[in-house]
């Protein structure tokens, strides 16, 4: 039984040109006690999904359909009051840029205390002790609690954000591009903190990222998103080594490997479809070197494939052959 299971979730944004379907009939299972990577390019709906789970969408966004079953309860069916009770206590959030996500005019001690007291029901002294403990947990000196956010470096702010997220011992943490704005060394250190705490506290975590390497380093499972949908999902080892979807295959060849100079990079030509009027068939068809008329006409269903591996592609059966062809830049150049 998953800790979180999302079924047919659709999130739309009202725009002048009609509703934009940022997340479209999306299914996803997040098991307890593991890190699930949610990987995709900008505009694929991965961040929207994170915010929809927290129940805090931008003003123009709304959940148009679907179910979010969390800890056995369908939380979309519950009252706003019940959902608010859940927030931060059961599911917490780590933002991309901790600079903007922390109140600039309040000390970190006040921001920690606010959550611990108002949401955690702690007393003032208990809250101070707990804040110090949390700072230690993420590798920050508790003496720095009296600092303002702008006095911290990017890595320290991100650690403070993690401490805040863990304040009320949630069972699920959603991290939205938590290391994107950081330098490689700090990035690695923050990923290590996340991995270590996840294991120690047996958290479930959704790690939203655009970087397949971050997924490979930190995640147990991965879901690849494209144009508002999950196109492939499974254990990281499976998806990375035996990708079934041509988009995933493209991504694994799209950026260089520091230890391999012979590798030829493969650009995926074209750009994702408009989510105002998504194409009828497979959304990747226009950029896919293997697309045939059926792909353009009919959306491929999500199918289980092998051990715990899901894919939405009509050609998944030919995946081993396609993987060989996908490694050749000429295959993709034909699309342009």
């Amino acid at each position: 039984m998953s800790l979180l299971s999302i079924r047919g979730l659709t999130v739309t944004y009202a725009t002048g040109a009609g509703p934009l379907r940022a997340v479209d009939a999306l299914d996803l299972e997040v098991p307890a006690g593991s890190i699930t990577g949610l990987v995709g390019e900008s505009g694929c709906g991965k961040s929207t999904l994170g915010r929809a789970l927290m129940g805090v969408l931008p003003d123009r966004g709304r959940i148009a359909a679907g179910q979010i079953v969390f800890e056995g309860r369908d939380i979309l069916a519950e009252s706003e009051r019940a959902r608010r009770a859940l927030r931060w206590r059961r599911m917490a959030f780590i933002p991309q840029t901790a600079m903007n996500a922390l109140d600039p005019v309040q000390r970190l001690s006040a921001q920690m205390a606010e959550v611990l007291i108002e949401r955690g029901g702690l007393g003032r002294a208990e809250a101070a002790a707990q804040a110090a403990a949390l700072f230690r947990l993420v590798g920050l000196d508790p003496a720095r609690l009296s600092a303002y956010p702008h006095q911290f470096s990017g890595g320290m702010r991100q650690r403070a954000s993690i401490a805040l997220a863990l304040a009320l011992s949630p069972s699920l943490v959603i991290a939205d591009e938590p290391v994107t704005a950081l330098d490689v060394i700090v990035q690695r250190q923050i990923l290590d903190v996340l991995r270590e705490l996840q294991a120690r506290l047996n958290l479930a975590m959704i790690l939203v990222t655009h970087d397949m390497a971050v997924v490979a380093y930190a995640c147990d499972r991965v879901a690849v998103m494209y144009a508002g949908q999950v196109v492939e999902a499974g254990p990281v080892a499976e998806v990375l080594e035996r990708p079934l979807h041509p988009y995933t295959m493209g991504l694994t060849h799209a950026f260089p490997d520091v230890h391999d100079s012979a590798m030829a990079l493969v650009p995926i030509e074209g750009s994702p479809p408009s989510l105002l009027n998504p194409p009828a068939g497979c959304r990747f068809a226009a950029r896919c070197p293997f697309a045939d008329p059926r792909c353009v006409a009919e959306p491929p269903p999500v199918r289980p494939f092998g051990q715990d591996h899901l894919v939405a592609c009509w050609h998944a059966e030919q995946a081993p052959a396609l993987r060989v062809r996908a490694a050749d830049p000429q295959t993709w150049a034909a699309i342009a």
């Binding site: 927290m54 927030r87 917490a92 959030f93 903007n100 922390l102 005019v105 959550v115 949401r119 303002y148």
Partner: protein, 326 residues
């Protein structure tokens, strides 16, 4: 922070010096004999001689300037033509009235503006906003003396609820300003001019508060506060309002400086015996020493309050006052 304060204070002194010098030049470059402009023909021969010597009006411009600056530093502003009093004494009588009028109206305006602005930001859209915004803009667009005229005609002349001008009813005399302060008559006279100014002044804090609140409410840390499941009250008061108040506090300090001089027309309409009215009377009756003194005082207050506004903003925003530790 200390460095910043020292820098701003140094700047303040510099600006004050330039403004006083400019005033000196302005009053000496006017047409006619500048000497005559400072000596009323009505003065006695001895007074004339004393003033000529005291202000160095018979010497070169350069020497006059040095004497002028020296006098300023000692608070010596010269002799008014008409009232036979020293300029400093006249200003001293008028200043408290102006300060009271300004403080009362400005405080009321900001208290109202902040609350109403926060409310409008909170309740966005709808009929309330559609009516409130244009109305507020209209109060800022109306000439303040015209607002005063409307109130005067309606509430004083027609309804008779308020006096038609001055600071005290005819025949009443107050020994000192503090005596005035505790008399109901004084406050009754203050009501209409203060209301006029308040009407005119409340628009700025209201619109500023609303705009900054809306901006802050869109910031990512507010989204985070919602994700944390914090109550709406916590979000609005602890996070949004605190951040949004920064520019409003600055505007208050700037407004204080500006309205001491900006009260000119309202004081004139209500015959309120403040600095502004004194200035107008002095200019109308070519009483140059008094005009110069009033102008210098108004400018000094403005310059000082500009600096206070700068410092207040810096003090309230930790991003400025608490330097990054790097």
């Amino acid at each position: 922070m200390l460095r910043l304060a020292a820098g701003r204070l140094g700047h303040l002194v510099l600006v004050l010096w330039v403004v006083t010098t400019l005033t000196f030049v302005l009053f000496r470059l006017m047409p006619g004999d500048p000497t005559l402009n400072f000596l009323s023909p009505s003065f006695s021969q001895e007074t004339r001689a004393a003033l000529l010597k005291g202000f160095g009006l018979d010497r070169s411009l350069w020497e006059q300037y040095l004497i002028y600056m020296g006098n300023l530093l000692r608070g010596e502003l010269g002799q008014s033509f008409l009232q036979g009093k020293s300029v400093a004494a006249l200003l001293g009588e008028a200043l408290p009235n102006t300060v009271i009028l300004t403080l009362v109206s400005l405080t009321a305006a900001y208290a109202f503006g902040i609350v109403a602005g926060a409310f409008l930001a909170f309740r966005r859209g709808g009929v309330v906003e559609a009516l409130a915004i244009p109305t507020t803009l209209a109060t800022r667009a109306a000439p303040e003396f015209w607002l005063g005229m409307l109130l005067l005609a309606g509430l004083a002349f027609q309804a008779g609820w308020f006096p038609t001008g001055g600071a005290l009813s005819p025949g009443k005399e107050m020994g000192s300003f503090s005596e005035s302060l505790i008399s109901a008559d004084y406050w009754w006279h203050l009501a209409l001019p203060a209301l006029t100014l308040m009407l005119f002044l409340q628009g700025l804090p209201l619109l500023l508060m609303r705009a900054t609140m809306l901006e802050v409410l869109n910031d990512e840390f507010i989204v985070m506060a919602r994700m944390k499941g914090l109550s709406r009250w916590s979000i609005v008061m602890r996070h949004a309002a605190r951040n949004a108040l920064l520019p409003v506090v600055t505007a208050f300090a700037l407004g204080l400086g500006a309205s001491i001089g900006g009260n000119v027309v309202v004081e004139t309409v209500f015959a309120w015996p403040g600095i502004g009215r004194l200035l107008v009377q002095a200019v109308q009756s070519a009483d140059y020493p008094l005009a110069q003194g009033a102008f210098l005082l108004i400018a000094a207050v403005l310059v000082v309050m500009n600096t206070v506004a700068d410092l207040a903003y810096a003090a309230l925003d930790p991003r400025v006052s608490v330097g990054a530790k790097r």
